[in-house]
């Protein structure tokens, strides 16, 4: 198997019964594994709720480490739509040409640096920097702020030992509280200020609501983007022909990005709380239990995707759920897509080949399923075009 491959651990369970069960802090989760079940469940926001106790729909559950509700992700209709409408235009800004140009500058600088060095650890020295610097564009704040986030290191929201480290999470929460207070004192044209000035149902957003949006913006787009960027580099290291093809046919870039997101599925799954006794793929789901929508499994469902375990760089029919599905689909998707589109463009233009020198896979443990989602570290060497 190639070093860059992400095997599909769900295939057998998906085909045999359609779900898997995992234990999570005495609040078990039924993981839905088939694309159609995942999509149908994501659409049924009445029976499968997001607006449960803050942290409960996340797996592993964060109920014991946070009270702040993440917005709009932990809110159901009709309020969900109100919040989402407030945010939609702002999160579409990455489509604008000047946003794209700024991203291109950020990424070009990183690739040029990478070309100068003999050995580069991609997660920490490339992807984390890229993600942090790009985030300054999304928040519309000075570029220098990214130094603070890079300084937090890879594992700011959780420690190496535990995915649920309350002290670690506090670093982010305290930081956001301080930024909100700063924006109250000196309003500007950054996301904090825009949110503080927004109205919902005829009143201003509260500080707690602004915090809920900001936590989501920070946390939701961190590991996911870092994994997608790192996995892309590992893939191109072993598939220089794809890099060459993107250089010759830049028009397939958007297709390539969707295919990489399908294959990598940077977020494995997301939970919902069942509101009434029901069934999911002929399996009883009791009220007040949890199910999860396993994007990673759905994206390899052979009943929809031909050759699901291969990256087909110009795949045309690609109804993947890598950015989620339904009303809660990823708010940061436009930003993430633009990051990846620009990254592919710059790599195709400047890089001839990449060697993988050393790697340590990051394997998630979901009970009966062990899933590689990316790397703990991966050392590479970039070679430029002459």
């Amino acid at each position: 198997m190639k070093k860059s491959a992400l095997p599909d651990p769900f295939a057998q369970a998906r085909e045999a019964k359609g779900y898997g069960t995992i234990e999570d802090q005495n609040d078990p989760v039924t993981m839905l594994l088939r694309l159609k079940d995942v999509r149908k469940t994501a659409k049924d926001t009445k029976t499968f709720q997001s607006g449960a106790a803050p942290g409960r729909i996340v797996v592993p559950s964060e109920v014991s480490i946070r009270d702040t509700r993440q917005i709009p992700f932990e809110v159901d209709p009709p309020m969900h739509g109100e919040y989402r409408a407030l945010l939609e235009d702002w999160f579409k800004r990455p489509e604008q040409p000047d946003y794209r140009e700024s991203l291109e500058e950020i990424i070009t600088e990183l690739v040029d640096e990478a070309l100068q060095t003999d050995s580069l650890e991609v997660m920490e020295q490339f992807a984390l920097k890229l993600q942090s610097r790009a985030l300054t564009l999304l928040l519309n704040i000075p570029y220098e702020e990214s130094d603070t986030w890079i300084g937090w290191g890879m594992h700011v929201f959780r420690s190496e030992e535990s995915a649920l480290d309350g002290d670690k999470a506090a670093i982010l929460y305290d930081y956001i509280d301080a930024q909100i207070d700063k924006a109250i004192e000196h309003p500007g044209d950054d996301l904090y200020s825009v949110l503080l000035d927004s109205e919902i149902e005829g009143r201003k957003l509260t500080k707690e609501e602004v915090k809920g949006v900001m936590i989501l913006t920070f946390a939701g787009g961190r590991d996911t983007v870092i994994n997608a960027v790192t996995n892309s580099i590992a893939y191109f290291a072993e598939h220089p022909e794809s890099l060459c093809r993107l250089d010759n046919e830049p028009e397939i870039t958007a297709h390539a990005v969707e295919e990489l997101v399908r294959y990598f599925s940077p977020l494995t799954h997301m939970g919902r709380v069942v509101t009434e006794d029901t069934q999911v793929c002929e399996h009883a789901a009791k009220a007040d239990t949890r199910v999860s929508l396993c994007w990673a499994s759905a994206n390899r469902d052979a009943s929809t995707f031909e050759n699901p375990n291969e990256i087909v760089i110009d795949r045309k029919m690609n109804p993947h759920v890598g950015f989620g599905f339904g009303i809660h689909k990823c708010l940061g998707a436009t930003h993430a897509r633009q990051v990846l589109r620009v990254l592919l463009g710059v790599l195709a233009q400047k890089v001839k080949s990449i060697d993988i020198l050393e790697q340590k896979d990051n394997i998630e443990d979901w009970g009966e399923f062990q899933r590689k989602v990316g790397y703990d570290s991966i050392q590479v060497k970039f070679h430029g075009k002459d």
Partner: protein, 102 residues
């Protein structure tokens, strides 16, 4: 050359022409409100949902199975629904009218 008429949900009419590409790309090039085309045309985002005018549906044709599976779960789905990134532009669809759903 195919001439396509888009009617947005605010009842704005936009007429656009092209000889190749997809209808979603044509809509984006002409800033048709309600056609976002987020996924770039791979049938994964459904932000390019249109209702084909009843009299034009035969010209455009029915969705394939994968597209139909996506559409069935969409709000405002009806028997004339299509994802317009899956409609290729050709002379065969000259003159059709599409109602933008979003």
């Amino acid at each position: 050359m195919a001439k396509i008429t888009f009617i947005t949900s605010d009842n704005e009419t936009i007429v656009a022409e092209a000889s190749s590409g997809s209808v979603m790309e044509l809509a984006k090039d002409n800033n048709v409100t309600g056609i976002d085309g987020d996924c770039g045309g791979v049938c994964s985002c459904a932000t390019c949902h249109v209702h084909v005018a009843a009299g034009d549906f035969d010209k455009v044709g029915a969705p394939g199975e994968i597209e139909a599976d996506m559409l069935e779960l969409e709000d405002n789905y009806n028997e004339h629904s299509r994802l317009c990134c899956q409609i290729d532009i050709s002379d065969a669809i000259d003159g059709v009218t599409l109602h933008v759903v979003n």
